[in-house]
């Protein structure tokens, strides 16, 4: 059970302010959970510089500089850079995301990779959202899209790996409020198809399901419609990719969700108050998503 928020910015004049706006949303969401928090940021010039790919990793056992050198030595990826953001270390290199990820895994066998891609960095960890926002330097982040999550753990462990967002495919990101009721079976089905899991978290099953559908050629809308058919439980989800921003709720739609839209941005939050600090919210079109309707915005 959790607080979730997402911001898809249309007006490039706001790109430099993405982190500050997202931090405001994240901190308002803290009342819905203080076990853990995380953000996914698209298009930050420091975390995802142009011409490089980015891989985010949890709980790297050495300082960032040393970690970069180890990844450099582990594969042909060009000069690697690394920055630490709390429990997350962000690696960038002028190689494809797959190649960089392989090098990171070779350098640090068994680590948990929390995102990989060309435009997304996922920063997450356990602790109070306010404290984590500082370790992420969230206020300084820039970009065109972001999602945020605060966690009140229901059944799975309070660990950095079990924190949201879950990013299991390139530049994909998913956050969830609610709980799935049949995730164990779907996890077994996905495992039987060769898909590996990082955590015991029910949301990871949702993220892996969506990534699996996308990999098989479905678009985001179709993937989420299939999710609605397959998953029991209560959920509000925000799913983002390198080009899109989508929101969906379960059939009963008990878990809260508010969407606000202006010419400058589209935002989603568990509660209106997370949106109250966004510029121009007074004149936004505000609505609640209908059950099992996929709302998607393309860049």
């Amino acid at each position: 059970m959790c607080g979730i928020a997402g911001l898809h910015v249309r007006d490039s004049a706001l790109f430099p302010h993405l982190g500050r706006l997202l931090q405001g949303m994240l901190c308002q969401a803290a009342e819905r959970g203080t076990d853990a928090a995380g953000v996914g940021i698209y298009g930050d010039p420091r975390l995802t510089p142009a011409g490089r790919s980015t891989v985010c990793v949890l709980d790297v056992p050495v300082p960032a500089g040393q970690a970069a050198a180890l990844v450099d030595a582990a594969g042909e990826v060009g000069p690697v850079e690394a920055v630490a953001a709390g429990q997350t270390t962000v690696f960038t290199a002028p190689a494809s995301p797959e190649v960089l990820e392989a090098a990171v895994r070779a350098a640090f066998p068994g680590v948990v990779v929390t995102s990989r891609g060309n435009s997304l960095a996922v920063l997450k960890g356990t602790g109070h959202p306010d404290d984590l926002a500082r370790t992420f330097s969230l206020a300084d982040a820039q970009g065109w899209q972001g999602v945020a999550h605060t966690r009140m753990a229901t059944e799975s462990a309070v660990t950095s790996t079990g924190s949201h967002p879950f990013s299991v495919g390139p530049d994909q990101c998913l956050v969830h409020n609610g709980s799935f009721a049949n995730h164990a079976t779907i996890r077994r089905e996905l495992r039987a198809e060769g898909i590996a899991f990082d955590s015991d978290n029910d949301t990871e099953v949702g993220a892996r399901f969506v990534a699996h559908q996308l990999a098989q050629g479905a678009d985001v809308e179709k993937a989420l419609r299939l999710l609605c058919e397959r998953f029991d439980g209560f959920y509000t989800l925000v799913v983002t990719t390198g080009t899109s921003f989508a929101v969906v709720r379960d059939a009963i739609a008990c878990k809260p969700a508010v969407v606000a839209e202006t010419d400058a941005w589209v935002a989603m939050a568990s509660e209106y108050r997370y949106l109250a600090g966004l510029p121009g919210v007074e004149s936004a079109r505000i609505f609640e998503p209908e059950p099992e309707v996929v709302y998607a915005w393309e860049r």
Binding site: M1, G3, E31, R32, G33, M152, A153, S179
Partner: protein, 443 residues
């Protein structure tokens, strides 16, 4: 005894006579069996635990002379006015509607006589109960039947009910026979309908929303009253943690032996976990969060005597709640009424048709004539006697274990008689140091 056996006939263990009767009932009526009470099947229970009285390695306390306190403070975490009870045996939530007004009055009288609390139930607060109960806990339920802010403010504590042990995940039910004019009026229902209650609250879902709901209840009552959260035992480790995260001052965990006024038999017998299995999970959750004893744990579901009370306390509970046992103390299933129970197709000791409203003891009924059979003063006094006996029994055990307060009992004072109970209660099997599932046992 068994004449059939000598003739070579054999009853099936799978299709025993109870099972055969149930199949025949379903085939005849097209409806599942609805009844009152809790799980009747045999379950690992408190009888499977024993205390280790003191002798040489520890010293016992002298009965009657040396102090062994029994009081408990509930809900001091946030409330301006926490409850301070003389005994840790409280009366569980039972509705006016399920019970007669005189039964509610008797519960109030008995509980007040010994300085403990009673609890309302679905359908709101009655004059009988508020008038007689020194400490009254007001239940806040999914149906909100009779929910009234004046009553909220008149209560001594608020119990947000998510579920009960007899039916975790299920809603409430009160059959038409008991929806008399007064009950219907309190619940805003037509007289005589089968009243169904929702299984989820209408305006919030999940622990994150619950945190906001608890804040609302506190705001309305100006942060004066403790807020309890009651769950039916199924995943108590998670549920207790979430109740605490949502802001509960007290968590009530009701095991599957806990009773109900009316629910499907299949629900009562097959959903939830035994009380014994629930307590260690709940205590572990509180301990991991560092709030054991700061957020109090009330355990209910099949608590019958002072030994059960002492065992709950030793396993880490702060108090217990009794429902079925309290009704028996009032006069439910009295052998003196056996002929009348038989006339209803039951017998004293078997009667569980609390849903039917024809209780000859005048307790689980709204029938004006049957109600008159219960003398609330005498019944209240019987309940008080019983509560005193339970408390004294627990003190006897606590003193034998060398404890100056019931709360000082600890798991190390207990052993288990069966492997099942040892595993569930996380205690060593008697005479050994073996705790099932735990590595590295010493001695």
């Amino acid at each position: 005894m068994n004449d059939f056996a000598s003739q070579g006939l054999r009853e099936s263990a799978t299709f025993d006579r109870t099972t055969i009767a149930a199949i025949q009932h379903a085939a005849r009526t097209g409806i599942y069996d609805i009844r009152g009470g809790g799980a009747k099947r045999e379950l690992p229970h408190f009888d499977d635990l024993l205390f280790l009285g003191a002798s040489m390695s520890r010293y016992p306390l002298e009965g009657y002379r040396e102090r062994c306190d029994t009081d408990v403070v509930l809900g001091a975490r946030n409330a301006k006015f926490p409850l301070h009870l003389s005994t840790p045996v409280t009366i569980a939530g039972m509705s006016f509607g399920a019970l007669s007004g005189r039964a509610k009055e008797a519960l109030g009288r008995g509980a007040s006589e010994v300085g403990t609390s009673t609890t309302t139930g679905d359908g709101g607060m009655t004059e009988e109960e508020r008038g007689q109960s020194k400490h009254l806990v007001y239940q806040y339920l999914p149906s909100r039947y009779g929910m009234n802010p004046d009553h909220l403010r008149a209560a001594d504590a608020i119990e947000v009910v998510l579920g009960q042990g007899a039916k975790p995940g299920g809603g409430g039910m009160l059959l038409g026979q008991k929806i008399t004019e007064r009950v219907a009026g309190m619940r805003t229902l037509p007289v005589g309908v089968d009243q169904r209650s929702a299984c989820r609250h209408p305006d919030w879902t999940g622990p994150d929303d619950l945190a906001i709901k608890i804040a609302e209840l506190r705001e309305i009552t100006d942060w004066e009253k403790p807020v309890y959260v009651k769950v039916g035992a199924s995943r108590p480790y998670y549920d207790v943690k979430l109740a605490v995260k949502a802001g509960a001052d007290v968590v009530v965990v009701d095991g599957m032996q806990g009773g109900t006024a009316a629910t499907q038999d299949v629900f009562i017998e097959h959903v939830g976990i035994p009380t014994l299995a629930a307590i260690p999970q709940a205590v572990q959750a509180l301990q991991e969060m560092g709030v054991h004893r700061e957020v109090q744990l009330i355990v209910s579901g099949g608590v019958r005597n002072g030994a059960d009370l002492a065992k709950c306390m030793a396993l880490g509970a702060d108090a217990v709640a009794i429902g079925t046992a309290a009704l028996i103390a009032l006069g439910d299933n009295d052998p003196a009424l056996d002929a009348e129970y038989r006339a209803l197709g039951s017998a004293a000791g078997y009667y569980d048709d609390w849903q039917a409203g024809r209780d000859p003891a005048g307790i689980t009924t709204q029938d004006p004539e049957l109600q008159q059979r219960l003398d609330p003063v005498a019944a209240g006094h019987r309940l008080a006697n019983y509560l005193r006996v339970m408390t004294m029994e627990a003190q006897i055990i606590a003193r034998a274990c060398g404890k100056a307060h019931l709360q000082h009992l600890e798991p190390e004072d207990l052993v288990a008689l069966t492997v099942e109970a040892a595993a569930m209660a996380r205690l060593p099997l008697a005479g050994t140091s073996w705790v099932p599932g735990r590595a590295g046992a010493g001695l």
